[in-house]
Structure formats: structure tokens, C-alpha cells
């Protein structure tokens, strides 16, 4: 049994702090609203480029926005 790294994020928290809707955030980072929903539900791990864009728009760093936890596979 190997270890699996799980990626977590606080996109939803920061989005609501910034008073942005999913639609508005999606437009700002040039993706669809469904992608924002997937990221917030931790279903989709965005690319490095999208992660940087999200961090810039939400006024934080990538490290603050995303973190990794080790979990059993």
C-alpha cells in the first residue's frame, strides 16, 4: 500500500471573502464556472498556470491557496 498525496484548497473561502461569485471568478481566470465548482469541491486539481492565476486574483500566494496532505491509498 503506497501513500497518496491529496491536494486541498481554500478557493471557496477566499472567493467569498473577496465577494466574488463563481461566475465572476471563472471570468477573471478565464475558465468555466463548472471548473471553479470542481476546484472548490476538491474534485479537480488545477494546472500550475491556473493555480497562479487563481492566487493572483484572490490576492494570495499559491502556497496559501493550495496545500498537500499525505493519505493512505
Amino acid at each position: 500500500m503506497g501513500n497518496k498525496y491529496l491536494i486541498f484548497n481554500r478557493v471557496k473561502d477566499l472567493r467569498t471573502q473577496n465577494n466574488l461569485t463563481q461566475e465572476q471568478l471563472a471570468e477573471l481566470v478565464d475558465v468555466t464556472r463548472l471548473t471553479i465548482i470542481s476546484i472548490e469541491k476538491q474534485k479537480y486539481e488545477p494546472s500550475v498556470g491556473l493555480s497562479i492565476k487563481l492566487a493572483q486574483v484572490l490576492g494570495t500566494s499559491v502556497e496559501e491557496l493550495f496545500w498537500m496532505k499525505e493519505g493512505e491509498e
Binding site: T32, L34, P46, S47, L50
Partner: protein, 136 residues
Amino acid sequence: MTYLYRFLIKLILSIVLILRSFSLFTYSLYMQGGGYWVLPLIAVIFVVWTIVEGISLSKSKKWYKSVNDTDERTESHEHRAGYITFWINMIGTALMFVVYSYIDTNTLHPLNFIGIVSILNIIIFIALKTYYIHNN
């Protein structure tokens, strides 16, 4: 490309498709029968789809906004759906050779078989893509 521009293209395509398919429908019905309903059915579905999209665009007032319905996530799901569809296509084509070793080409014309496989591929691709985009 704006939503209005894309809607107009779809509208023109649906009108052409409906006119063509129904002219073929009567001709095919008269000449051979069997499978004649597929194209008109697709045309009707396409028209309904276009109308529904038009209503939704009117409600959201997005006519003049640029189309933004693809991104890295949808692209990856498209690739995944395309990969599965490709193998279904390969199996379908292989099956065609097996089927024609048993049945006569007059029972089911090879062109009709290819048509059925192609339509099935398009439907499977769209269905899989939609499923992945909304569930992953």
C-alpha cells in the same frame, strides 16, 4: 466568437439540416425504408437544442459576450471521451468485417453501417464528454 454569432450559425445549420433531412425522409421512405427516421430525429433534436440554448441566452443576456465554454479541465475530459470513442469506433469497424462475413451486404448496406457507427460515435462522444464535465 460571441454567443450571438454561434447561435446564428447553429440556427442556419438546423434549418438546412431539417430541410435536407425531411426531403431525404420522404424519398428514403418511398425508396427503401429502414433507418430513414434517424436523420430527421437528429434534425429535430438539434433544432430543440438550438431553441433551448436561445432561450437560455436570452435569460442570461449573454448574446454579445465571447464564448467561453472550454478550458484545461473540459479539454482533458474531451480527450478522455475521445479516447474511449476511438476504441468504440475501432471495435465497431472490426465488428463490421465480422458481420459482413455472415450476412449479405443487401441486408444492411455497408454505407448504412458506417453511417450508424459514425452517428453512434458522435452520440457517445457528446454523452461521455457531458458526463465527465458535469461529474468530475
